[in-house]
């Protein structure tokens, strides 16, 4: 019951993570990530600082210390999906997968890499895997199917379609994505998610038992919990628990830290022998920390991963733009969960998951591609849904002044320079009150040899915030005549001064 409730909550919050006519999003699916101890661990180790946003995760850590690894059986939406799908076991798991050391090793590698400034926990976080699968493939697919159907209907019945408009309007306003976007890494994201479902064929909850880094972390915390199953061992005369338990106790006992407190064994025990009670931690329940060999191995692997993964191609980083408010690349990479929420919420579909633009380190981090979508001047949604504040939550006045990059003209391509004809669509769209793109009339000789007056645009660096609308609306095909380039110094623009007179009268009509 609780499982279904949380799955429904996850999906509802997912759909709510969208602009639905209000500048503020009150609750979003980021609540799940803010409660995620793995996200918390990665953040603390990598950023080596604290964020108030992650307080719910601390609560969950405390609850796990007390009650055990209940998250996996009561809350985790991915776990619920695995339970709902009930994929039948068709093959035996290979022994290496079942090794209790594998997941420890995996988690330790992630945590040590974080400590060495490479925070990749989000790549294997189950909530993030689920969200990315939904955001990058399944949800756009739903939107596309609905929209295509609606367009087809217009082709079939034309204006008469209007009689169905209220129904479609209801769907569009409350459920569907506003805009169709095709995302890079869509297949990979879905592949990861489906891979986890596929693992069920090797036995129930194979992902949770053998791989999940969040589950493993909760397992460590849950080892000392005071709430446990009694009797500790499976009774010799019955042993049905062994089949009831989704975590598949191979020996006669489920190790501490493996029990996910689903309580199936208590509910279905014929003789009512099994109970869950508060009890003192077991003596001899195994060491709290993993074996030294695994510990050191994880540390070495984390270090080995952390250094080479930092390679970034300068050519790619030159056009690598981050969401508004992100001032420093390294700081951002340490805090970003790679959950994809900002990408989902982005009003103009300006944000896309990076594939290789920022190296392995930046896999799945959001980057802005102006040619596909620009940063809407008055919108602050990405900062509102970011679970860790990697994209800071800013009031709209401050966000407008945050520098994403700076636009530059390509004079070989931009029409007034290259073809000597009028254009300046970029200036028209520039949202900066006093215009960061301005134009001046110059007399030129056209390619036909005739002298004429053309408006040539130029950029005022001190007022350009790099929102990218100029590059977005440039009417040239393919590559735009104006392009936003990344800059290292992203000091916000100074506050606009609004006088009662137009700022420079030469520019005004009068």
């Amino acid at each position: 019951m609780s499982q279904l409730l949380f799955l429904a909550l996850f999906l509802v919050l997912f759909v709510m993570t969208e602009y639905r006519g209000h500048d503020q999003i009150s609750v979003a699916v980021n609540s799940f990530f803010r409660s995620d101890p793995l996200v918390l661990a990665g953040y603390l180790l990598a950023a080596k600082s604290w964020s108030r946003l992650l307080l719910p995760a601390v609560v969950l850590v405390a609850a796990t210390l007390l009650l055990g690894r209940f998250f996996c059986a009561w809350i985790c939406p991915l776990g619920t999906l695995l339970d709902l799908l009930r994929i039948r076991k068709t093959a035996a798991a290979p022994p290496w997968l079942l090794s209790p050391n594998l997941k420890q090793w995996l988690l330790l590698t992630l945590l040590f890499a974080s400590l060495f400034n490479l925070n990749l926990v989000g790549l294997l976080d189950p909530l993030a895997i689920l969200l990315r699968g939904l955001t990058f493939l399944l949800y756009p697919l739903l939107g596309l199917a609905a929209r295509e159907g609606w367009v087809e209907l217009y082709g079939l019945i034309g204006e008469q379609r209007d009689s169905f408009a209220p129904l479609y309007g209801l769907l569009r306003d409350n459920l569907l994505p506003f805009r169709d976007a095709i995302y890079p890494l869509a297949f990979f994201s879905t592949f990861l998610l489906l891979g986890i479902f596929f693992l069920e064929r090797l036995g129930t909850r194979t992902w949770c038992r053998c791989l999940c880094p969040l589950g493993t972390l909760l397992g460590w915390l849950g080892k000392v919990s005071l709430f446990r199953r009694l009797p500790v061992d499976v009774c010799g005369d019955c042993g049905r628990c062994r089949d009831l338990c989704p975590m598949r106790p191979e020996q006669g006992r489920l190790e501490a830290g493996e029990c996910i407190v689903c309580m199936n064994c208590e509910r279905d025990c014929r003789d009512r022998r099994v109970t869950f009670k508060l009890a003192a931690p077991l003596k001899g329940a195994g060491p709290l920390l993993p074996e030294r060999r695994v510990f050191l191995g994880g540390m070495a692997a984390g270090l080995l991963l952390a250094v080479p993964a930092r390679f970034r191609s300068p050519e790619m980083t030159a056009t690598l733009l981050r969401p508004p408010g992100v001032r420093a690349e390294d700081e951002f990479l340490k805090k970003c969960v790679r959950c994809g929420e900002c990408i989902k919420v982005c009003l103009k579909n300006a944000l896309y998951p990076a594939a290789w633009q920022s190296g392995v380190e930046g896999f799945y981090t959001p980057c802005l591609i102006p040619r596909l979508g620009y940063c809407e001047y008055n919108c602050t949604l990405c900062g509102q849904v970011c679970p860790t504040g990697a994209i800071p939550r800013l009031p709209v006045e401050a966000k407008r002044r945050e520098v994403i990059g700076k636009a530059v003209f390509d004079k070989n391509h931009c029409l007034p320079f290259a073809k000597r004809i009028d254009c300046i669509v970029c200036e028209e769209h520039c949202p900066i009150p006093d215009k960061a793109i301005r134009s001046r009339e110059v007399t030129v000789v056209g390619s036909d040899g005739v002298e004429r007056i053309v408006k040539e645009p130029h950029i005022l660096d001190e007022t350009c915030n790099g929102c990218g609308i100029c590059e977005n609306v440039c009417p040239l095909e393919g590559r735009a005549g104006v392009q936003v380039l990344a800059v290292i110094n992203r000091t916000p623009l100074s506050e606009p001064v609004f006088g009662s007179e137009p700022a420079d009268s030469g520019y005004a009509v009068k």
């Binding site: 009003l347 809407e376 009028d422 949202p431 609306v473 137009p502 520019y507």
Partner: protein, 260 residues
């Protein structure tokens, strides 16, 4: 032309000065009212038509017996934000027989314009199918065309790569307006944007003029509105191109201005 600070009232006065809405709208007509709501800017920044003016025009259409009044614009910023923050969607909410829907791209239809610059272009089917088309721009500065008024507001029913038109904007706009006529042009000059248009953003660029201009002649409406900026109709190449094409009168001494 009407002046006053009660915007719905001056809108109604201006409409009655050109013969009243019944002259244009017959009982059972489908009317399209095309304001400018292309930008995510609040009312006071004068980037979009004033919502009270839009509502007054819509109410006049309904009073004249319109079966349905459709209000839309092909926005430059995010459509949801423009519809919401221009205040127009809210101003029309709950009025029966009024539709304020966002543009659906599949509804643009290729139309043969056979113009001098544009041979064909995509126009919005709801505008093409309407019995009456009312052009309802706000008077604003524009970087390329100096001013954007009635003739340029027609771009809101155009699809495709609209930026392409900037290469020869004056001729392109004459082409479209020659093919697609506005039955009535009402220019909202309650506030005008004098610089950094068409989007604005600086309150210092806004002048409050409390003025509404209505005319059946789109060129005359534009020509007269130009004077509000201290310019002459001949300063605006778009107006000149339309005049030369025979779309209307731009000589102020031949335009009869009725002040009500």
């Amino acid at each position: 032309m009407a002046e006053g600070s009660d915007y719905p009232a001056i809108t109604r006065r201006a409409i009655s000065a050109v013969g009243g809405m019944k002259r244009f709208v017959k009982v059972g007509d489908v009317v399209v009212v095309k304001p400018n709501m292309g930008w995510d800017r609040p009312v006071e920044l004068a980037a979009n038509t004033h919502p009270l003016v839009v509502r007054a025009v819509v109410e006049e259409c309904l009073a004249a017996g319109a079966k349905k009044v459709k209000v839309f614009d092909y926005t430059c910023n995010d459509a949801r934000r423009c519809y919401a923050n221009s205040g127009i969607e809210r101003a029309l909410k709950g009025i029966k027989r009024v539709e304020c829907k966002q543009i659906e791209p599949e509804r643009f239809k290729k139309v043969q314009l056979n113009g001098q610059f544009l041979k064909e272009w995509e126009l919005y089917d709801e505008a093409l199918a309407a019995d009456v088309y009312i052009n309802l721009p706000i008077a604003k500065h524009h970087g390329l065309s100096r001013l954007t008024l009635g003739l340029k507001n027609i771009m809101g029913i155009m699809g495709g790569n609209r930026g392409f038109m900037h290469r020869n904007l004056d001729t392109a706009l004459a082409d479209v307006n020659a093919h697609f006529k506005s039955h009535l042009t009402i220019i909202d000059a309650t506030r005008i944007l004098t610089a950094h248009g068409p989007q604005g953003g600086n309150p210092g660029d806004v002048r409050v003029l409390n003025t509404i201009i209505a005319s059946t002649d789109i060129v005359a409406a534009d020509a007269f509105a130009t004077t509000l900026f201290g310019l002459k109709p001949g300063d605006i190449p778009v107006t000149v191109a339309a005049y030369k094409r025979g779309l209307g009168e731009m000589n102020l001494d031949r335009i009869k201005v009725v002040r009500v």
